[in-house]
């Protein structure tokens, strides 16, 4: 925040004195050449341990519940199991993202996409053909196995964008700006998908494709707010101003995320309450968690690729002009 205030004051004083505003910070000296760390190796050990713990409590325990082997849960209550599964899975995936997204290699996203395909294949198979239909909604409830994981991961992507925006305003390191751009774009794709899935689920259960219900309305507001931030980034050419303005806009837009989450509790909503181990039958846990992990891995892989793309574009914008061009400019 201090760095942001300093930059804004510098902008104002430079504008008043007619001098050029401050240039964007140069890329980190660790990132030589095209801004990549080609000499460093992929870091997988700590995230893999966290993911293994998350997978145990997410999948093995759920398989035990599904087939009537409760001993695998180690006597822990379902709330603790869900927290361990989600917490370790998300922490491991995000650790893997931040540890490897500066590498100039396709291997980290390839690993994540491979894991995602395995999880989504098994999760969708279980969800469509093995899990029983729901008591009231019947087979239509199987949409939950893609809708709820998409919702969780859309909100997680927005949260990542918020964290990256805050960190960027504190340290002005442009890698956080690239990560923020990647997180926002992937979050927008997932939020759009969320609205499409919700409409498809709403038609057979509510009788309408769309309703101005608090949950749906706040989700639409969230989607358009983040589309607006992407548009802002497209229209502002100066990298420094673009990064600062979009970081501030992201923080403001993020206010809608807790409103989306709690809207079903705060208002008399047509939408059902959030799905959690307390509201979802044990027989539905496994496909829900498999698909949640699958979309989580896919989301992290997409953010990794998109952040790398944003970083390369930024380096192109910030690179000094070629000598011939510079000489030509001086001559003119």
């Amino acid at each position: 925040m201090a760095a942001w205030l300093k930059n804004e004051i510098c902008d104002i004083t430079c504008f008043a004195s007619g001098t050029a505003p401050h240039p964007p910070a140069a890329p980190s000296p660790r990132r030589a050449g095209r801004g990549t760390i080609e000499s460093e190796r992929m870091k997988t050990a700590p995230p893999a341990i966290l993911l293994a713990i998350g997978a145990y409590f997410g999948f093995v325990v759920a398989i035990g519940q599904f087939h009537g082997v409760p001993g695998l849960a180690l006597g822990l209550p379902s709330g603790v199991i869900a927290t361990l599964a989600a917490g370790c899975g998300v922490a491991g995936a995000i650790w893997f993202l931040f540890a490897n997204d500066q590498l100039d290699s396709w291997r980290p996203p390839q690993i994540l996409i491979g894991l995602a395909l395995v999880c989504l294949a098994f999760g969708s198979y279980y969800g469509l053909f093995v899990a029983p239909p729901e008591q009231f909604m019947g087979d239509v409830q199987r949409i939950m196995y893609v809708h709820v994981p998409t919702a969780w991961n859309a909100l997680l992507a927005m949260t990542l964008a918020f964290v990256c925006a805050v960190i960027f305003l504190f340290n002005s390191d442009y890698k956080w700006d690239s990560r923020m751009e990647g997180s926002i774009e992937v979050g927008v794709v997932l939020a759009f998908l969320l609205c499409c899935q919700g409409a498809i689920w709403a038609k057979p259960t509510w009788g309408v494709w769309w309703d101005w219900d608090p949950r749906l309305t706040t989700t639409a507001v969230l989607l358009f707010a983040f589309i607006g931030i992407l548009a802002l980034r497209k229209f502002v050419e100066d990298p420094a101003r673009r990064a600062i303005w979009s970081a501030v806009a992201t923080i403001i837009a993020y206010v809608d995320v807790p409103i989306v989450y709690f809207s079903v509790r705060w208002w008399n909503s047509l939408h059902q309450q959030q799905s959690n181990p307390g509201t979802v039958s044990k027989q539905f846990w496994l496909p829900l968690r498999l698909n949640a992990f699958g979309i989580l891995f896919l989301m992290v892989a997409f953010i990794m690729v998109r952040a790398r793309l944003a970083a390369l574009r930024l380096e192109h914008e910030m690179a000094p002009p070629l000598p011939e061009v510079a000489e030509l400019g001086e001559a003119v």
Binding site: D139, V140, V146, V189, F192, L298
Partner: protein
């Protein structure tokens, strides 16, 4: 009207098809964009 939803497999299939189509198209698009950006960066590095 029993209050129970019957059938609806077409909606389930539509939701899964939309989900995986959007994710696939977006994944292909960002990988293509990153490849183009990398080749442009490599060309620039060669011209320097």
């Amino acid at each position: 009207m029993s209050g129970l939803v019957t059938g609806g497999w077409n909606f389930v299939i539509a939701a899964y098809v939309v989900t995986f189509s959007v994710l696939f198209i977006y994944g292909v698009s960002i990988i293509t964009r990153l490849r183009e950006e990398r080749s442009r960066a490599a060309e620039e590095a060669n011209t320097k």
